[in-house]
């Protein structure tokens, strides 16, 4: 997608102003000291090297600022001092105004007196448009600003006041300079990293933030060389992530309000937890969670992502004036060098389809063990997996093997081979759920969970719905799997003990307080069928035919073609299947479910279930 080849080139370019601003500010440091000395000596500009003052609005050159400003007022109708008075600009503000005008003039845009404070409220205007702009230095020579309510004529001691004022301004500028320098450090680290990457010093990143909302077609594309050798896989991941440099997937995730609101609410409702803290955002994507944390008062946020989207994140962060708080690092979390030994909080949106598909959770857990302080906070703190039995014969007829049995009069059953082997990602209607209860089969406490825990076998039990409509006549068609996510504000006293949460806690109930109203500190969301649809939807594990059914189906396939009589028989057989299931009187389904990563592909997910004497495996790919 959006040519990743242009992006690396583009980003440093876009960031250049920042770099320039920082370095010019550093260069000008001395210059300002000079000026200060001048003022202290005699307040006179004549120290030998008279600078040429270039007009703000054309190419004319003047010996001093005042005559230039008079020219601008008379020739171009632009009253610099008037604007300054109107906006009550201090020295700092005047610098911005000068650069704002120069920038517009440089771009060939018209300059009018209709300028508002917000026009000037951009850091970029602290950066001189002209090197060694004599106008900026000359600003010290301008007459004092008249306070809005005071009348002209301040009286005696004017010089002393001026000096004090200038000293004050100077210290303000020093602070500004320190801030900009810090920003520049971030930028420099970024640039050197980008260059390292471009020059091939660092292996090209091969994994990234999220696969969550991948459009299906893209998904298929990304699976290029699945099952091939190790080296090959790296290559494929690379092109896979290149294909995600586009905005679609990020738009889908940002517009998933269930997801994004949950992170926002937790972070903004718990500002006390973030104030002054160092936060690590793993798989930052467009940088949204990092920016939430920065707005919530975090003193430092490290945003890490291995995909090319990090370049857009950096731009976003810069545009939102958060570059001094947030540092973007491009690469795998296991490989990047963090500028701090420890972090207080880890924020990550790592969840994939079926929770663990393509998951980056092992990376998050690795970072937790490596960087999180003992009392540090995990955001989110817990996730749990759920399952329910489903039945919808109409849907199965349209999307199961029957569809392929007759396609425009042709038998295409060859296409249905393996149709039960893959889990399907879709949003399932609640009225097609045929169990009275859903089962929580796995709770992950993200303080204590280890990578090894992500391959597990867990028991489950669900009760089939009774006596409601004719639903219980339908055989069960499969299991639906989804997950809940919890954000607990409680940090563990001892991380090894984790933070307690009932194994069957339901997201939508847990985040309510004792009074049944929304608890402000707790946030949780579900991706289940009863919640608002999310981009994760649910995973459907469709039951294959039992062995007996399979035999019949095979027999039927063999003596294919004898029309009507055969069709009758088919109907009978269908009825038999239903009866058989009823006879067994399966009021309850008990079993075990196993999540594991297939050998040689740690990012895929295999789900294996054993229940009521049957078993089946599904793959999420």
């Amino acid at each position: 997608m959006a040519s990743s080849s242009t992006q690396p080139a583009k980003v440093p370019e876009d960031n250049d102003p920042l770099g320039d601003s920082a370095s010019s500010a550093a260069d000008d440091d001395e210059g300002w000291n000079d000026v200060e000395e001048d003022v202290e000596e005699d307040g006179d500009d004549d120290d030998g090297e008279t600078q040429q003052v270039i007009s703000l609005l054309d190419d004319r050159v003047f010996p001093d600022v005042m005559s230039m400003l008079v020219h601008c007022r008379e020739k171009h109708g632009f009253d610099f001092l008037g604007v300054r008075q109107h906006l009550q600009l201090d020295f700092h503000g005047c610098v911005r105004l000068v650069n704002f005008i120069r920038q517009r003039a440089h771009e060939g845009l018209p300059v009018s007196e209709d300028i508002s404070s917000s026009d000037l409220d951009h850091e970029q205007y602290l950066k001189p448009v002209l090197d060694d702009d004599a106008v900026i230095i000359g600003l010290f020579d301008l007459p004092e600003l008249t306070p809005p309510d005071a009348q002209v004529g301040g009286g005696g001691g004017e010089n002393e006041a001026l000096v004090n004022d200038l000293l004050k301004r100077n210290s303000e500028l020093q602070e500004e300079l320190a801030r900009v320098s810090a920003q520049y450090e971030n930028y420099r680290a970024t640039v050197s990293q980008t260059l390292d990457e471009r020059w091939g010093d660092v292996a090209e990143p091969a994994e990234s933030s999220k696969a969550g909302g991948a459009p299906e077609k893209e998904k298929a594309k990304g699976m290029g060389g699945e099952g091939n050798g190790e080296v090959k896989k790296e290559d494929d991941s690379k092109s896979y992530w290149e294909s995600y440099a586009g905005v679609d997937i990020h738009e889908t995730m940002l517009k998933d309000a269930v997801r994004t609101d949950a992170y926002r609410d937790f972070i903004y409702n718990n500002k006390h937890l973030f104030a002054g803290k160092t936060v690590l955002d793993i798989g930052c994507g467009t940088g949204i969670l990092s920016m939430f944390c920065a707005r919530a008062g975090a003193s430092k946020v490290l945003a890490v992502d291995a995909s090319a989207i990090i370049h857009k994140a950096r731009e976003n962060i810069y545009h939102n004036n958060l570059s001094s708080t947030i540092t973007c690092l491009s690469g795998r979390i296991e490989e990047v060098t963090l500028p701090v030994p420890q972090v207080d909080i880890i924020v990550s949106e790592w969840m994939g389809y079926g929770l663990l598909f393509e998951a980056m959770l092992p990376s998050v857990l690795w970072a937790r063990d490596r960087y999180l302080t003992p009392q540090g906070l995990m955001v989110p703190s817990h996730t749990s997996l759920w399952l329910a039995p489903v039945a919808d014969p109409v849907w199965v007829a349209d999307n199961g093997p029957d569809f392929w049995a007759d396609v425009y009069g042709f038998d295409m059953r060859a296409m249905s081979a393996g149709i039960f082997d893959d889990a399907r990602v879709l949003h399932w209607p609640t009225d097609k759920i045929c169990g009275t209860a859903a089962a929580a089969f796995k709770m992950l406490d993200l303080y204590t969970t280890t990578a090894a825990d992500l391959q597990f076998t867990a028991p489950f039990s669900v009760t089939l719905e009774q006596g409601k409509n004719e639903k219980n006549k339908d055989p069960v068609d499969g299991f639906l799997v989804w997950f809940d996510t919890f954000f607990s504000p409680q940090a563990p006293a001892d991380r090894m003990q984790g933070v307690p949460l009932a194994a069957d806690a339901k997201a939508l109930e847990w985040c309510l307080g004792a009074d049944g109203k929304k608890d402000q500190d707790r946030v949780a969301f579900t991706t289940g069928p009863w919640g608002t649809e999310t981009h994760w939807k649910q995973a459907l594990l469709l039951f294959g035919l039992d062995k007996e059914d399979k035999d019949k189906a095979a027999k039927k396939g063999d003596n294919d073609g004898k029309a009507d009589a055969e069709d009758e028989e088919k109907k009978d057989e269908g009825a038999e299947v239903v009866e058989k299931k009823e006879e067994q009187g399966q009021q309850e389904i008990r079993g075990e479910i196993t999540f594991s990563a297939p050998e040689g592909n740690a990012r895929a997910l295999d789900i294996w279930a054993v229940w009521n004497g049957r078993s089946q495996t599904w793959a999420l790919r």
Binding site: A2, K221, G224, L254, K312, N320, A414
Partner: protein
């Protein structure tokens, strides 16, 4: 083993090519195409209703997929059909053809059209469903044209044999705001760096017919008997005349497909005025909003060409100009898009 060899061959290709072919290995995409009734039924009617054209003919199916078109051709009386597809779906197609008792009538060959040899020196008819989004995106028309030049007998037929791209101006303020304006403020943050990217990606989606503000205009007509791959990079100026006082936020493009060789010509459209197809329509947002009055004309220039690096991607440039007496509404601009 055959499958292994095919996979080996795929591995040797450039990534973009691999992705293209591999994306067709999955069931889902074939299911979507087969379930697209407008598409599949039009092909079926064009072939099966014209037995007089297919009887005893040798037919080549370019990009045969599940071989549905090949089987239609056999049903229409073809002497023999050769189906060619690079994707490994062709091994499923072989099973399907066998199960339907047509194995002796249909020869399926896995490989690139340009690299394989077919067991006939010439064919009488070429059938192919080669169209992509915006007709030309990820399209295999160049492969069809290759097959035409290499194999089609003199006076041979092509199904379909005509394709036309149309464009018109649409009022789409609400959706544009949702898709493009969204990036102005995301949870209170300025996300404009992503706005440029969003603007440069044409949107494949369904447009309601009531959104049309201008008359549609044909911007490209391809006669498959005559056109060459050079025609797939084109530049065309055109004018859109406004039907009512409204705003124009975007141009929408769609295509019509004609089977003119049929006894009774068959045509289907993928436009906003007709039934849904999996191609939907393609929307190109302008940076500006045009405020138009009934009877005015918007002058446009469309430039389309395959991307230098990946010929299945498209680079598209649209210039637009609203020239009116009313200086306040006069607008001129250009947008560049990339379909990839």
């Amino acid at each position: 083993m055959e499958l292994d060899a095919a996979e080996q061959q795929l591995k040797g290709m450039a990534h973009s090519e691999q992705h293209y072919f591999n994306s067709y290995n999955h069931h889902g995409i074939h299911e979507e195409m087969l379930k697209d009734e407008v598409r599949t039924r039009s092909y079926m009617n064009a072939i099966v209703q014209n037995k007089h054209l297919f009887k005893d003919k040798v037919v080549l199916d370019v990009g045969c997929g599940t071989a549905i078109l090949s089987m239609f051709a056999v049903r229409a009386g073809a002497k023999h059909v050769i189906g060619v597809d690079m994707s490994t779906i062709i091994f499923k197609a072989k099973e399907i053809v066998a199960v339907n008792g047509m194995a002796d009538k249909i020869t399926l060959i896995q490989g690139k059209m340009e690299e394989i040899e077919i067991p006939f020196p010439k064919v009488d008819i070429i059938i192919s469903e080669w169209m992509g989004y915006f007709l030309l995106y990820e399209s295999m028309l160049d492969t069809v044209l290759y097959a035409r030049d290499r194999y089609l007998a003199k006076d041979g037929l092509i199904f379909p044999d005509k394709a036309t791209i149309f464009m018109c101006g649409i009022e789409d303020g609400e959706y544009k705001d949702e898709k493009i304006g969204f990036w102005d403020s995301v949870y209170g943050f300025d996300y404009t760096p992503l706005k440029e990217t969003a603007l440069s990606e044409p949107l494949v989606d369904n447009v309601e017919v009531k959104a049309a503000v201008t008359d549609p205009t044909a911007v490209l007509t391809l006669d498959l008997y005559k056109c060459t791959t050079a025609d797939l990079a084109f530049e065309v100026p055109f004018k859109l005349s406004c039907r009512r006082d409204d705003f124009v936020h975007a141009l929408v493009a769609w295509f019509d497909i004609d089977f003119t060789a049929c006894h009774k010509p068959i045509r289907f459209s993928t436009g906003p005025h007709t039934k849904y197809t999996h191609w939907k329509q393609t929307v190109f947002y302008f940076k500006d909003v045009l405020t138009v009055q009934q009877g005015e004309e918007v002058s446009c220039n469309l430039l389309v060409r395959p991307n230098d690096k990946n010929r299945r991607d498209l680079d598209i440039k649209i210039d637009y100009k609203l020239d009116t007496q009313d200086a306040t509404r006069r607008v001129e601009g250009a947008c560049e898009f990339k379909m990839c």
